[in-house]
Amino acid sequence: MSGAPFVGVLALQGDVREHVEALETVGARSGAVRTLEEFRGCDAVVVPGGESTTMSRLALIDGWFEPLREARSAGMPMFGTCAGMIMLADQVLDARPDQETIGGLDVVVRRNAFGRQVDSFETDISVPVLGAEAFHAVFIRAPWVESVGSGVEVLAEISDGDRAGTIVAIRHGGLLATSFHPELTSDVRFHRYFVDMVRETV
């Protein structure tokens, strides 16, 4: 493709600005996406961190599920962090029974699996696809991946402690998702990895 891809950040609510800044740092064009018109100009989409219950309600109210699912089926790459991971998952545990998701990611995730805010934490994890250097991961009322389907690549697990082996980053075709918030640190390797995915597909 010619020029930098445009990666929109779905702006129902959440930490939109941090994603936009990280995406621009790695050479993509980016901006908040609030309307379908803005969405039509996107080569890919990031579903940011936020509150998944709220995001799902607002997506329903504003009619986002249909266009997002159509774009995903047509191969648009999507990257979800925390609430965004929940939004991309096929199945969610410990959520409101009526919580809808965009889906596509063949995984079961458990909402707030690490606990409430007082249990939120940061830690170093190993992410082999990003290189040998550890990734500093920030988990806020975070979900984890309970189980994955056959086509899903596990990119990272919790390295040590009681929850060692818990899956916290995955890729399934054009969909990328993390339980934690790469956008809250200055380490942009996940965003670079995603933009490389986008460049391959566009």
């Binding site: 129902l12 309600r57 409101r96 707030n112 409430r116 007082v118 988990f139 806020i140 009322r141 040590d160």
Partner: protein, 295 residues
């Protein structure tokens, strides 16, 4: 084992996740569900909304943990609760029951007229009110992970929220234009730590999320406050003291999200019924004004 809880990053990060959202005061599980259904990003659990505290008088304290726990059980969005200014005992109780955020709030009767809670030592994050930049920076120094304009709670009069938001953001703009030597004097005048003043001057914003609160009662109020630069909105009495709380809650959420699209704010504002009755801040006797609590 390298996991760390209660760091500045997870406390401030939690507030980042609430941006663009509306946090609603609720007094029971039923109201909490209405708020969640309407798209609230969090709820503030309390026994009396500010308008009732104003009307009924008396000492306003932390709510019954039983009632807060009931609300935590009823909804899946984050639950905040209020502690009195300086009342670290209430804050300890709220942390122990696992609330997601504590509001050290001027809406309750202060417990300490000299000191605020030393918030850094807690695992749970705190939000505090501010009327100007110096106050905001002092709260951040004490460990607040989120700031909200104070406004004048329980009035439905948005004018003080406007004054405080303009003041905070105006003072930040002023810092940006200062040279290094002027920042020393600015720190003295703001009564805030020099390093924090330099950081704000460099970044052009607070190091934490800035919400607005205190008198927001209509979708247009919310849209205006977002355009003035708020990251999100607290609505206290404005929803459940209005004629049709469900419709008003949805409308304020919509206007907060689409704040820069007047036609959508107009659509949200149609047929909402009675807004809360309201009190003009100018008619309040000075000693009944909550904005002066905290310093």
């Amino acid at each position: 084992m390298n996991e760390q809880v209660g760091t500045d990053r997870v406390k401030r990060g939690m507030a980042e996740m609430l941006k663009g959202g509306v946090i609603m005061d609720v007094v029971d599980a039923e109201q909490a569900k209405i708020a969640e259904d309407a798209g609230a990003v969090a709820v503030m659990a309390l026994e009396r909304v500010p308008a009732d505290i104003r009307a009924q008088g008396g000492v306003a304290r932390m709510s019954d943990p039983e009632m807060i726990a009931g609300i935590m059980e009823a909804v899946s969005i984050p639950v905040m609760a209020k502690a009195r200014i300086g009342h670290f005992g209430e804050a300890q109780v709220l942390q122990s029951i696992g609330v997601d955020y504590i509001d050290e709030s001027e809406v309750l009767t202060p417990a300490d007229y000299a000191n605020h809670i030393a918030k850094s030592g807690f695992t749970v994050p705190f939000v505090c009110g501010a009327t100007n930049l110096g106050e905001a920076l002092r709260r951040i120094t004490e460990g607040a992970a989120m700031i909200r304009s104070k406004g004048e709670a329980g009035t439905g009069d948005v004018s003080n929220a406007v004054t405080h938001m303009r003041k905070i953001l105006g003072e930040i703009r002023r810092l940006r234009s200062m040279s290094e030597d002027e920042l020393f004097v600015a720190a003295k005048e703001l009564q805030a730590p020099y390093d924090l003043v330099v950081e704000v001057a460099r970044e052009g914003k607070l190091p934490v999320v800035l919400f607005t609160a205190g008198g927001i009662a209509t979708p247009a109020d919310a849209a205006m406050m977002m355009q003035l630069g708020a990251d999100g909105v607290f609505v206290g009495s404005g929803i459940f003291k209005s004629g049709d709380p469900k419709a008003r809650a949805e409308a304020i959420v919509s206007a907060t999200r689409h704040f820069d699209k007047p036609e959508m704010v107009a659509e949200a504002s149609r047929g909402l019924g009675e807004a809360m009755v309201g009190i003009n801040v100018a008619d309040l006797p000075v000693h009944h004004r909550l904005e002066d609590r905290g310093w």
